[in-house]
């Protein structure tokens, strides 16, 4: 009974607002790749926050204020799902930017502990990330870092919304993105 009462407000916030959950433990993803191309070329591919065509999972991207802080982009995935993100930091000199997820569509609905749970397309909550390029002579190193919580903000998560699911999903996106970026930049 007690659990159900706690549960409602948590769910209401889960996909809309950030920074609401400190019960679960924050997780991290940290991937990097060395690309045999100059940093300027690599940065040229990713520098437009509103252009995520280099990320294989994304079908198209819309953006409202370009590379301005606060700019909102909506990623439409190959399967039709959407992820809305807000630009938090942008530093052209450092060839880096940071963003957070503000909203996501539901990938599927499951039943857990007698309740319906909406699993977001990326099974995470309160997600922030940054990506940057660093010159290493004629080559470059791209680092993509994310910090987030599992999608289920209450205790005892279902398998689809636990830490393993979150970590795997984010790592898969980062790895696929960086591998494709390497392919594009080394062409």
């Amino acid at each position: 009974m007690k659990k159900n009462l706690l549960f409602l407000p948590v769910l209401m916030f889960a996909f809309t607002s950030a920074a609401n959950a400190h019960g679960p433990v924050r997780q991290k993803a940290d991937e990097e790749i060395t690309i045999n191309a100059p940093a300027a070329k690599v940065w040229g591919i990713i520098k437009d926050y509103g252009d995520m065509s280099w990320l294989p999972a994304v079908k198209n991207t819309t953006v409202d204020k370009g590379n301005e802080i606060g700019s909102i982009r909506v990623l439409t995935l190959q399967d039709g799902g959407t992820i809305t993100e807000e630009l938090k930091k942008y530093d052209a000199d450092k060839m880096a930017y940071g963003y957070k997820i503000t909203e996501m569509s539901t990938a599927k609905t499951i039943t857990h502990a007698g309740n319906e749970e909406k699993v977001p397309v990326l099974p995470v909550d309160n997600y922030t990330a940054n990506i940057g390029v660093e010159a290493k002579g004629d080559t470059s190193v791209v680092t993509w870092k994310g910090a987030y919580y599992r999608a289920y903000t209450n205790n005892n998560p279902p398998a689809e919304m636990n830490e393993d699911a979150a970590n795997k999903a984010v790592a898969d996106v980062f790895k696929a993105g960086l591998a494709n970026l390497k392919t594009l930049a080394e062409k």
Partner: protein, 319 residues
């Protein structure tokens, strides 16, 4: 020269230890949440001297005034662990409640206060018996806790209610609750206890409260997602970790102006002041490091590698 200087120091330490007195000072206790461990940093040498395994995703830290024990909140173990600072072993695991996070100890070392994220309560635990003696209902998702220097009040940051509660440690009831900025998390009081500062995660600012009246005096803009606060140089400088900016804001507490922004590691969280009142340690969660800042020169003077996911939420120095 250096060698000559060192000999007497070493002798003195050995003598003290031999007498069974408390361990020579000061140490920083850093919770490594993703590693399930606590790094013990010798703040003289600025090196990790030991890493103690401690299950339950350790987060909050409170050091007993005598320096003999450290209380480490373990949210996934629903309580806290008691770490012995001499043997570096876990003496007890105490189950308190489902979402134990913020933790503080009173200045007499008699009580441990544990905030519960889910239940909107603060549990009062006897340091002697390690039993919960009272549960105080506060605002939503209480997080940061601090005991006033005179031991009469416990202040609680109610993150979900955007407020701070002032709890009488005598009656263990809420005397007053005041609205601050959005989502207050870490809090600190001055040495005299006249003021309280809150880091407001969602409104990117710090609220300054007059503790007697519990009225806000000022609101100061800082960086993005401020997490925790500490004071240095006789309370003249307030230092704030900005999680998303990877910086620490330094505020002049006379003028309430930000006078410096110091770059630290990624996702800075816990922050505490060395007993010398000048150096400030910052746990960088993403980098798993601790930055050592000099509040006087406003620079980073050292970076110490700790365990995965350094969190160190609370007062983590032994005196």
């Amino acid at each position: 020269m250096l060698r000559l200087k060192r000999i007497p120091v070493t002798l003195a330490v050995v003598t003290v230890l031999g007498c069974g007195a408390s361990v020579a000072a000061p140490f920083a206790y850093i919770s490594n949440q993703l590693d399930d461990s606590v790094s013990i940093i010798d703040a003289e040498k600025r090196t990790v001297i030991d890493t103690v395994k401690l299950a339950g995703k350790p987060a909050g830290i409170a050091v007993a005034p005598a320096g003999d024990k450290v209380y480490v909140s373990t949210p996934e173990a629903h309580g806290f662990s008691v770490l012995d600072t001499k043997s570096h072993s876990v003496l007890n695991k105490v189950i308190v409640s489902e979402g134990a996070l913020g933790i503080a100890v009173d200045h007499e070392g008699q009580r441990i206060y544990v905030a519960d994220w889910y239940n909107n309560t603060v549990s009062v635990v006897s340091a002697k018996t390690l039993e919960v003696t009272k549960v105080v209902t506060v605002g939503e998702s209480p997080s940061g806790l601090i005991v006033s220097p005179d031991n009469r009040w416990l202040y609680v940051a109610n993150r979900g209610s955007d407020s701070v509660s002032k709890v009488s440690t005598e009656t263990l009831t809420v005397k007053k609750t005041t609205t601050v900025g959005k989502h207050p998390f870490g809090i600190i009081t001055t040495q005299s206890g006249d003021r309280l500062y809150t880091a407001n995660v969602e409104s990117d600012d710090v609220t300054v409260l007059d503790t007697a009246s519990m009225q806000p005096i000022a609101s100061i803009k800082v960086g993005i997602l401020p997490y925790a606060v500490t004071l240095a140089l006789n309370d003249s400088r307030l230092l704030v970790t900005n999680q998303t900016d990877n910086t620490v804001s330094v505020i002049d507490t006379e003028t309430f102006k930000q006078i410096a922004v110091i770059e630290v590691g990624e996702k800075p969280e816990g922050i505490s002041t060395h007993p010398d009142d000048r150096h400030v340690y910052v746990a960088n969660w993403f980098d798993s490091t601790v930055s050592v800042l000099d509040a006087k020169t406003l620079t980073v003077v050292d970076t110490i590698k700790a365990g995965e996911g350094t969190r160190a939420f609370g007062q983590f120095f032994s005196k």
